[in-house]
């Protein structure tokens, strides 16, 4: 049999193939030859054949029949064979293969080979793809090699150890002794891999981390100072051609040291202090003209922001990021935006200074940069810059890619709600969003907007006029049409009477209004929910319009036989209103009172809703029944608000005065709850909205002087906890309890944590305490606010748990509080 063709020859031949079929044919022919050669157990050419096989494997062809051959190559004495054998093993014999473990013995032998390059091959293979069993078997060998004086092997052993730890974390302990001496090396390779090993150990185990923070190595110096020294040498030392990259000495090592310092300094004051100087030095002295310098600066910034650094250093870091933002290199801008996003919560003011640069990034061509710039922009909006920012963001909304529009729209709504300088501006902004990106607006935005509009009483005429004009031209954007229909239904009378003050009133007749609403009803583009809105709006107009009542009656009766069950049901009920219950119609269809002001989820939620795009046409999704009791309240809601819960023809609700009493308000409170549901993919927390009120200044609460007596909830071992109460003006189900904890012993109580639990029918919200230390001798107190929601007005009971440190030992106690005064919950 002729000698198998050489590797290069094969490659050249295959490359001449002009079609995929031709190539496949060549490969098959060669594979057959290789297979028969393997069968003949030909030692001389095995190496060549496997090499060819690996080439074919890279082209995408199956090569599993070469697995055993790789093993034979590894076992061979020839270095050439071993080299190819190990390469083949790394490519073909990953841990999922059955024969993977057969390598173990060979590797073990080779780890002890006399030639360091063979040892190196074994270490490399083990370190790249050794399975857990293999790692367990060979960890001892690796550990031995970690202590060798041969730096070529030592560095490989260190990375091998990293792999072992990743695969079998329990083995971490066994490498600990060997680490004592690792950083005393001069060899950069060993230094680098040792730092990687230490990083891996510290990241994985808090115990290890604590150990390394404190322990002294063989030359009696601690880890952090030692790392600082090494880093300093790198920066200060002269030109070293071996490790130089564009004038910087061994940037790879510098970055890894910075990363390890970050882990050591995190949440640890002492370590952080020890590294302040070197960080400042690196931050100011590193050349920024090339990417390599910026890579180091980037890592430095990350470290500064993550440890307990002093504020001067933090400002320095943020300024570096600011400079990055101005850099022409896109990569650097990208990296800057990512980092700023991480720090904007904690160092808000510093980031604000770079706001205009960030806003400019909105116009960048790179999608990832745009997204980050958008998220950052939302995080930076505040009362002072809201007008300017909104202008930019609205412009962005206009021109950005569809995948951004939903997030952007939500963000704008949230920011507008929090910081709107005037009602008119707010309404204008909402209008702008609805008309620009109307189909991308999220479902939950519609009820929120409606509530917002009802709140701005003086703007009703203006709002309805603008909405009317908006849908006249185009009624395909569902959220816009829904909001518009609702408003027209409510304020149609203002529309036709031309009462608008804010801008030139338009002349609209009742018929024209009905025309547009009917078009919405008929249009194919309208979703079922939208039609529901339109129909209800038409119905409401029956009490607000004077000339067109008959027309309305006709429309309503037509839809009594609509295929859409939802519409049909509504139409039938409305019909009934016209016929049997006509006397109730005015009362039922009265103007909605102002709804309770409710804050929705905070702006940070935007960051989490990345990448989540709602389809353009909104699905009909009934809001979750949630906290709504299935009472008569539902029925009234149905006719007025448009929720989709099973409607029932109402029995006589007593005619209520227009300034609704408590009951109606409660119903509308419920409406708000359905108005802020969780849309399925969004990781938002659907907390009952009114509990969030406390996060903003509290206009809704009585003062304490309303006279609810305070109680002592707990008094034991020198710790006394008093409760004082407040009740909400507008929502009688909320009680706000302020606890005060005081300490009459002669030693402070530290790490004080107060926890509370209430029975199932209640809901509880604990705000942050004023501190965690109760000073001794009653010289100070900790205060904390608890809000309790008690919709069923049951007797308030609470179980509390207290944990704290006192006189050197950890204390813990549980207690029940049963002595709440009746005024606090009735």
């Amino acid at each position: 049999m002729p000698a198998p063709i050489r590797l290069r020859e094969l490659i050249r031949t295959i490359r001449t193939a002009r079609t995929q079929a031709e190539e496949r044919e060549m490969i098959q022919k060669e594979c057959a030859a290789i297979r028969s050669s393997f069968r003949e157990e030909d030692n001389t050419y095995r190496c060549r054949n496997v090499a060819k096989l690996l080439y074919m494997h890279m082209l995408g062809y199956p090569a599993h029949f070469g697995q055993l051959e790789c093993l034979k190559l590894i076992a061979s004495q020839k270095f050439t064979d071993k080299r190819i054998g190990y390469l083949g093993a790394m490519l073909l014999l990953d841990e999922r293969q059955d024969v993977h473990l057969l390598m173990t013995n060979c590797i073990k032998n080779d780890l002890n080979h006399s030639t360091q390059y063979v040892q190196g091959l074994a270490l490399c293979t083990l370190g790249c793809m050794g399975s857990s069993e293999m790692c367990r078997d060979l960890a001892g060998e690796v550990e031995k090699l970690l202590k060798t004086s041969n730096s070529y092997l030592r560095k490989k052993a260190a990375l091998c150890a990293v792999h072992v730890i990743r695969k079998v974390p329990e083995l971490m302990e066994m490498f600990l002794p060997a680490t004592k001496n690792l950083l005393n090396e001069k060899n950069h390779g060993v230094l680098h891999t040792s730092v990687v090993l230490l990083t891996e150990m510290c990241e994985r185990s808090p115990d290890m981390l604590a150990h390394f923070r404190k322990v002294k190595n063989l030359s009696s110096s601690q880890l952090v100072p030692q790392l600082v020294r090494i880093l300093k040498n790198l920066i200060m030392s002269g030109y070293s051609p071996e490790h130089d990259v564009s004038g910087i000495s061994d940037p790879f090592l510098q970055v890894r040291i910075l990363r390890l310092l970050r882990i050591l300094g995190r949440n640890d004051d002492d370590s952080s202090e020890a590294m302040n100087d070197i960080l400042a030095q690196v931050a100011t002295n590193t050349e920024t003209s090339k990417n390599v310098g910026n890579a180091i600066l980037y890592e430095t910034v990350l470290t500064i922001m993550d440890i307990k650094s002093e504020s001067g250093l933090r400002v320095l870091a943020i300024n570096i990021l600011g400079r990055f933002l101005l850099n022409n290199d896109k990569n650097i801008r990208y990296v800057a935006l990512t980092s700023l996003l991480k720090t904007v919560q904690t160092d808000h003011n510093a980031v604000q200074r770079h706001r205009s640069t960030i806003v400019d990034c909105l116009k960048d061509l790179d999608v990832s940069i745009k997204r980050r710039a958008m998220e950052l922009s939302f995080a930076l909006v505040n009362g002072n810059n809201v007008r300017g920012m909104m202008k930019e963001l609205l412009y962005f909304l206009d021109s950005c890619e569809p995948e951004f529009k939903a997030d952007c729209a939500s963000g704008i709504f949230l920011a507008a709600e929090k910081y709107a300088p005037s009602k008119r501006w707010h309404i204008d902004t909402i209008m702008r969003v609805l008309t620009t990106a109307g189909s991308y607006v999220r479902d939950d935005a519609v009820p929120n907007l409606i509530q917002l509009i009802t709140n701005s009483v003086e703007m009703h005429a203006y709002t309805v006029q603008r909405l009317y004009k908006a849908i006249l031209g185009d009624y395909s954007q569902q959220p816009l049409v829904q909001v518009a229909s609702w408003c027209i239904g409510e304020y149609g009378d203002l529309l036709v009477s031309g009462q608008c003050e804010e801008e030139e009133p338009i002349q609209v007749t009742e018929d024209e209004v009905l025309d547009i609403l009917e078009s919405v009803l008929i249009s194919n583009m309208s979703a079922s929910v939208t039609r529901g809105y339109a129909l209800t709006a038409i119905m409401k107009l029956s009490t607000r319009f004077t000339c067109t009542v008959n027309r309305i009656k006709k429309v309503v009766s037509i839809y009594g036989s609509s295929i859409d069950v939802e519409l049909q049901q509504r139409a039938v009920e409305y019909n009934a209103l016209f016929k049997k219950y006509d006397h109730m119609r005015p009362a039922l269809l009265e103007r909605m009172p102002v709804m309770e002001k409710v804050t929705t989820n905070g702006p940070t939620e935007i960051v989490q809703t990345n990448g989540e795009t709602e389809p353009a046409v909104l699905e009909t999704k009934p809001p979750p029944p949630g906290l709504q009791p299935a009472t008569q309240a539902n029925d009234l809601l149905d006719l007025l608000g448009g929720s989709d819960i099973t409607p029932v023809i109402p029995t006589a609700p007593t005619s209520k005065p227009p300034s609704a009493g408590g009951e109606l308000l409660d119903l509308l409170g419920d409406l708000n709850l359905t108005g802020s549901p969780v849309s399925a993919p969004a990781p938002q927390i659907a907390q009952p909205p009114f509990l969030l009120d406390g996060l903003s200044p509290q206009p809704l609460f009585n003062d304490i002087a309303a006279g609810i007596p305070s109680i002592t909830a707990y008094n034991k071992n020198g710790l006394k906890i008093d409760f004082t109460f407040e009740r909400s003006n507008t929502n009688p189900s909320i009680t706000v309890i302020t606890i005060q904890a005081s300490n009459s012993t002669e030693l402070d109580m530290t790490d004080f944590v107060f926890q509370a639990a209430v029975p199932k029918t209640f809901q509880l919200q604990l705000l942050s305490p004023s501190s965690s230390v109760i000073p001794a001798f009653n010289s100070g107190t900790i205060t904390q606010v608890i809000k309790v929601l008690n919709p069923q007005k049951q007797q308030l009971r609470m179980r509390i748990k207290l944990t704290y440190n006192h006189k050197g030992s950890a204390m813990q106690d549980l207690a029940e509080v049963n002595n709440f005064p009746p005024q606090s919950w009735q």
Binding site: R6, L7, R8, I11, R12, R15, R48, A51, L54, M58, G60, K78, F79, T80, R83, L87, M90, D94, E95, R96, Y117, G120, C124, C128, M129, Y152, K156, L159, C160, V162, H188, G189, H192, T193, V196, E242, H243, V245, D250, P251, F252, L253, V255, R259, N291, V292, A295, Y298, E299, L302, K330, N331, I332, R333, Y334, V335, L365, D366, S368, I369
Partner: protein, 153 residues
């Protein structure tokens, strides 16, 4: 580094190094996906792409794309330096390396990579040392004719 891919502008794979264990099918799928993503990026975009829970860092050298997948906590800018260093090592070994060198000497490309990176982490930061180790290893090889440094094409 989780994996590194080298591919041409036509999408042909020239080198694949995986530092995590995945089924073959999965690897092929990933390669197809990533090649498509990277080849469709234009000049004006950055070198970084968010992909699943990893970050892709890529750079084009002549007709070859070098693409690394790194984890969230890894430094993207440094990864660019790592890629550049690998290219420098190839250049030093082959002398003015070009794509053909890597095609015809793919096993050498792997050997050099394995002297530079183990288990996804850099093992040697000195250019000289890494290349010297390869050259010394070459000397140990028994059949010299098979593995000359720069064979004629």
């Amino acid at each position: 580094i989780q994996f590194m891919l080298l591919f041409s502008r036509q999408g042909k794979l020239r080198l694949q190094k995986w530092y995590t264990t995945l089924p073959d099918k999965e690897k092929k799928k990933i390669i197809r996906e990533i090649v498509q993503i990277v080849l469709s990026r234009n000049q004006k975009t950055s070198s970084f792409v968010d992909w699943k829970d990893l970050k892709l860092v890529y750079k084009r050298y002549a007709s070859l794309y070098f693409c690394c997948a790194i984890e969230d906590q890894d430094n993207e800018l440094l990864t660019l330096e790592i890629v550049h260093r690998y290219v420098e090592l190839l250049d030093r070994y082959f002398g003015n390396v070009c794509e053909l060198d890597i095609i015809f000497n793919f096993e050498k490309a792997y050997f050099i990579l394995d002297e530079f990176i183990i288990g996804g982490e850099v093992q040697e930061t000195s250019k000289r040392s890494a290349v010297k180790a390869i050259e010394d290893s070459d000397m140990l090889q028994e059949t010299v004719e098979e593995y000359m440094n720069k064979p004629a094409f």
